[in-house]
């Protein structure tokens, strides 16, 4: 075990993956010897050479197009998109290409070796274009897996799974926690199962569901609620696609209440999918409407970031409202 922050955990996963198979390649804008603007890939060029960890020209659609081709050739392509906000030029290569590659070819070809890493989320004074949480844009896309770790331990184990998973994976890293989240992480290789939600804290009164950086907000809100005598079951969804309906539904059947929180805007966010599915699965158990605590339906504003941000106070209020419905 070693103390690592989330960036170091990501770097360690990449290092182990590249050591494990020389078919693993890491690339993106500025990710070469410089190590990326966040330094997630630093040291990799020195260790594995400039052909295994390298810079790309500045073209996201090209990065993912290239990665798709490389993965279809049988390599493990680990592509970094510098910010989640800049993933949209690659949207076609992700939703029309990567996600449909195996199906459309009848399994003659696949891009299972593809992993897209991208930092996402707000709380860093990034304004419109360094703050978005675009997971829901991809969650409507059969064929993709989407993973969002909440801490260094999860990040490393999940990223290793993502790289070697035989399906294309979008791995979204909570940049607010890159340096802020520090924890004990095994130094060697380990993998965590994709598609499994994680019960972070057991409770009986209300289920609070979050993913990525929002989990610690949910935990903080649960702590406040505990002061009021409310027992929250906090669940980290971990994988957005395909998601673990059973774990969430089972919890809600127990608590009768669900608060879902996400950083992204409310409308058609992933919280909506969760609410839609759970009201179906748990209809007879629900004691109050499923609450979604989300970003406003506006672009991400810089000077009102504090107000826009889905903080623990907002989640706490939603928990209370759910209890007193």
């Amino acid at each position: 075990m070693a103390k690592m922050n989330l960036l170091q955990a990501v770097n360690s996963a990449l290092d182990i993956a590249m050591a494990k198979s020389d078919k693993v390649y890491s690339f993106g804008e500025d990710t070469g010897s410089f190590g990326g603007v966040f330094r997630a890939t630093s040291g990799l060029t020195e260790k594995y050479g400039r052909h295994r960890n390298f810079n790309t020209p500045l073209v996201e659609q090209g990065i993912i197009g290239f990665a798709n081709g490389l993965a279809s050739q049988g390599s493990y392509a680990v592509a970094e998109i510098q910010f989640g906000d800049y993933i949209f030029p690659a949207f076609d290569q992700i939703v029309n290409e990567a996600a449909k590659f195996r199906y459309r070819s009848g399994n003659e070809f696949n891009v299972g070796g593809l992993t897209i890493r991208t930092p996402y989320g707000g709380g860093i004074s990034g304004g419109h274009y360094h703050s978005q949480s675009p997971e829901a844009y991809f969650a409507h896309t059969p064929g993709m897996k989407i993973v969002m770790p909440r801490n260094p331990y999860m990040a490393k184990g999940l990223l290793l799974s993502a790289i070697f998973d035989p399906n294309p994976v979008l791995f979204m890293e909570p940049k607010r926690l890159y340096r802020a989240a520090v924890g004990e992480v095994p130094e060697g290789e380990y993998m965590l199962e994709l598609g499994k939600a994680d019960i972070v804290q057991e409770g009986t009164d209300v289920t609070v569901l979050a993913w990525g950086a929002q989990v610690e907000i949910a935990e903080k809100a649960a702590e406040m609620a505990a002061q009021d005598g409310i027992s929250c079951e906090v669940i980290d969804l971990v994988t957005i696609l395909p998601w673990d309906v059973d774990t969430v539904a089972e919890s809600v059947r127990k608590t009768g209440r669900l608060v879902v929180t996400q950083e992204a805007p409310l409308t058609n966010g992933f919280a909506s999918e969760v609410a839609a599915t759970i009201q179906e699965e748990c209809f007879l158990y629900l004691e109050s409407p499923i609450a979604r605590v989300c970003g406003l339906d506006t672009p991400y504003p810089l000077s009102h970031e504090k107000e826009y941000f889905v903080d623990h106070l907002k989640v706490y209020e939603a928990i209370k409202a759910s209890m007193t419905y």
Partner: protein, 398 residues
């Protein structure tokens, strides 16, 4: 001339704008329209066997295209897309590769696939979306693909295969495989952002890829010159990316073959990506959904008939004494019979089993898809007459 030390650039003191026509690239031709070798040119070193295989593939594709357009008119298949007039481009280039080289096509390269050995039955199974289709009947007709033949499955979104080809070739280079990737696309697709991405990245990474642009004058109804681009076509872009580039007569199978053969050397032996622009003409409509009389003249079409790549090559073969007109005619009839037989057979084969609907979304179907399939099957069992293609076999396993 003065030089700038930092940039290593020549310095000029007059504001001379370089004109858009500063770089016009000539067209390489060996076989002239009358089927003779052009003066000063040299026929490629090609033995009789290869020459006849190329010609035979050309004939086959002509027949396949003709027959399948007819089949579409008869309502037997929903859609077809012919490569009429462009056979030399796809077949001549495929012939210059080795079978291990990867082919990534747009959708009009059935010739390359046939050259690789895709059988008439395999073509038909895809065209009829039956259960023997490698693609499991999931995509529209002409979306062929075959891993064994190193022919990447065709997909409709244009130009997406261009940066993918660069990535594929990167893997080939790293694996020291001694192979390359050829990537076909139309001059229309070359307007997409993915084209720019793919070529620029290939130039930066120096990967063994051959970009083969089929410039056939049209993208559906949009003429290339002046409406698709304002310059001298696609070839000058290769130069702008710092890439070896050649423009060939796409209707001249020898020029195509020779250029591709040399390009392959550059690619595989020197890791030099190459751009080939093959000038040709889409003699048929864009697809069976299209009617070109709405946007171009008969005269134009007729002018191109004189450049027919198959006729031209046949003339050369006859002059060479490698085939007679009668032999060619006989081969044609034999192939036609074979195509018709395969067509009849393929249309009797059922569509894939309904269980296939959730396969291959992921490597294995996750729980939610298993649930959706179970619900769908329960529904089909309830209304079998509404789903006649799948209901009868629903409980018979795959």
């Amino acid at each position: 001339m003065a030089k700038d030390t930092q940039h290593q650039l020549d310095i000029v003191t007059q504001p001379q704008f370089i004109d858009g026509s500063a770089l016009t690239i000539p067209m390489f031709q060996i076989l002239s329209e009358d089927g003779t070798i052009r003066k000063g040119a040299k026929a490629p070193e090609m033995d009789k066997e290869l020459a006849l295989k190329i010609f035979s593939t050309m004939q086959f594709i002509r027949i396949l295209d003709e027959r399948m357009i007819a089949a579409q008119r008869q309502g037997r298949i929903s859609f077809y897309l012919s490569s009429l007039g462009e056979e030399a481009a796809s077949i001549g280039s495929a012939a210059a590769l080795i079978p291990e080289d990867m082919i990534m096509g747009q959708y009009r390269e059935q010739g390359a696939l046939a050259f690789r050995g895709f059988t008439v039955e395999q073509f038909m199974n895809q065209l009829f979306s039956n259960e023997r289709d490698f693609g499991k009947g999931r995509q529209m007709p002409v979306h062929y693909g075959c891993a064994d033949l190193n022919f990447m499955t065709i997909a409709s979104p244009l130009a997406t295969q261009i940066p993918q080809a660069t990535g594929y070739a990167y893997g080939q280079k790293m694996d020291k495989s001694g192979t390359c990737t050829i990537c076909y696309f139309g001059e229309g697709a070359a307007s997409e952002g993915d084209f720019h991405a793919g070529l620029n990245m290939a130039s930066v990474y120096k990967v063994p890829v051959i970009f083969f642009c089929r410039n056939n004058g049209y993208a559906i109804s949009t003429p290339s010159q002046g409406e698709q681009y304002g310059g001298d076509g696609i070839a000058p872009r290769g130069v702008a990316y710092g890439m070896k580039t050649i423009r060939v007569d796409g209707n001249d199978v020898f020029a195509v073959y020779e250029a591709t053969r040399l390009a392959r050397e550059l690619a595989v032996e020197h890791n030099e990506p190459v751009l080939i622009e093959g000038m040709s003409y889409r003699m048929a409509g864009h697809s069976t959904s299209d009617d070109p009389t709405g946007y171009r003249t008969r005269e134009e079409e007729n002018a191109w008939k004189g450049k027919d790549p198959v006729v031209r090559f046949q003339k050369w073969l006859q002059n060479q004494g490698w085939i007679t007109e009668e032999q060619a005619e006989q081969n044609y009839e034999e192939k036609k019979a074979m195509v018709l037989a395969a067509l009849k057979e393929a249309e009797t084969i059922p569509v894939p089993h309904i269980d296939e609907i959730i396969e291959d979304v992921y490597d294995t179907p996750p729980k939610h898809l298993q649930k959706q399939l179970a619900e769908l099957k329960a529904h089909i069992r309830k209304y079998p007459e509404a789903y006649p293609k799948t209901a009868p076999r629903i409980d018979g396993g795959k």
